[in-house]
């Protein structure tokens, strides 16, 4: 049971969960972003265990390489070491958020993990080539729509930046 594959898997799961905890609990936004990066790495490791190496590398390329850097740029522009002032943090908010998250945890736990989902028939035949073929064959329309969405968001972000520059 304690073979290298299992040990690395347990390590990946721990990295993911600890990263998520650090993200939501830490004091300043920079440590939250570092926790997010750790979580993304853990999830990339889990994708490798799920026979999806392409997706694991895409996760690192897109999330860590682009989105995390983008968030870090925004943090640098919007005040990096901004800690929550003491008088604005009430214990009521902590209790409320704990209640919300724990209630949703138990509800979804009951819903999702007590059901036996059944084994799928068929051999696992998804390679990178399959994903590429599916993207251009069956899912070409959502693919094009998402690229349109990305173009729209680029234009929107540039317009917003020009807007603020025009005010000055």
């Amino acid at each position: 049971m304690m073979n290298p594959g299992n040990l690395v898997f347990i390590f990946m799961v721990c990295v993911t969960m600890v990263g998520a905890l650090v993200t939501v609990v830490s004091g300043s936004v920079i440590y939250a972003m570092l926790g997010l990066v750790t979580t993304m790495f853990g999830i990339a490791g889990l994708y490798i265990y799920l026979n999806a190496p392409f997706l694991a590398m895409m996760q690192i390329l897109i999330y860590v390489g682009a989105i995390a850097i983008l968030i870090a740029f925004a943090i640098m522009l919007a005040g990096p070491f901004y800690k929550r002032p003491k008088e604005w943090t009430t214990s009521g908010k902590l209790v409320a958020s704990l209640v919300v998250s724990l209630v949703s945890f138990f509800v979804f736990f009951k819903l999702v993990m007590r059901v036996s989902w059944g084994e799928g028939g068929g051999v696992f035949a998804v390679t990178t080539k399959e994903i590429g073929r599916a993207l251009f064959d069956r899912y070409a329309l959502p693919f094009e729509l998402i690229s349109l969405l990305i173009v729209v968001s680029i234009i929107g972000a540039t317009m917003l930046a020009l807007l603020s520059k025009g005010e000055k």
């Binding site: 290298p4 920079i30 392409f54 850097i69 740029f73």
Partner: protein, 328 residues
Amino acid sequence: MTETIVNNIADVIGWETIRTVVGLVGVLVVVVVNALVLTWAERKVSAHMQRRIGPKEVGPFGLLQPIADTVKLLAKELLTPQNVEKPLYYLAPVIVFIPVLVSFVVIPFDARLQVKDINVGVLVILAFSSLSVLSILLAGLGSNNKYSLIGSVRSIAQNIAYEIPLLLSLLSVVLMANSLSLRDIVEAQKGVWYVFSQPIAFLIFFIASVAETNRTPFDLPEAESELVAGFHTEYSGMRFALFFLAEYTNVFIVCAMTTTFFLGGYQGPILPGIIWFFAKTYLLVFVILWFRWTFPRVRFDQLLNFSWKLLIPLSFLNLIVTGGLLKL
């Protein structure tokens, strides 16, 4: 006698693990030896290009100079400035090594000398080269210093601008080789090397990777006359040595990748493959060292304009033409 010991160990942890461990140790040896060689070579090459001689006191031809430099850097006091954010400050020199070491895992040094031939090898290299940006970020943020912050912002902007032509030029090679694994790409160059069938992609890839490693002419973020020293202003002694070690290893990785993707990897007529591989790689390293004393430094807006306005449209055009010609 050693055979029985090795067989016993293999029964416990399996042959794959032994092979991986041996491969990783080999990679570390290559990294250290390469760093020593490059430190010496940089000083000698730049000296001869400036019509002087360079280090000649320590050992024959100054060959033991890197060892003297290492001893000096190790003996320096590990000074931590007072108001730095300690976790970020300590983490940055460590993270700067991870992309380099991971890229070493997929490079084929010879037909059977590759630590692990991952079937999405190209993506591994691209994904982890975008990770080196994170360490620049942590170094800049953690140093609590205006010059570090500006230097790191500039360096990040340069890095993400030149990542895109890198990716696109590699995609044309992947289209031609029909596979994402590095071994297949080298094997697909048996007939004609890709430098002849994709010259534009070769140029774009080489220029973009020189910009990625922050070497001259793209070394504005760490230029001595500009921003004190950019994002590693506050690092001294051993930590500074780690940043520079990572930069030299990055130069080696970049040249190794250019060799693998465009110059046929380990293929060559008479000598064993690994000698051809190192010969081609160090030829490209020499070219990168040559650039430093040939070209003036590019201004920052010229740098970004060059990437966004010239390299990216050119690499898109190259990709479209490659795809079109392959399907006809």
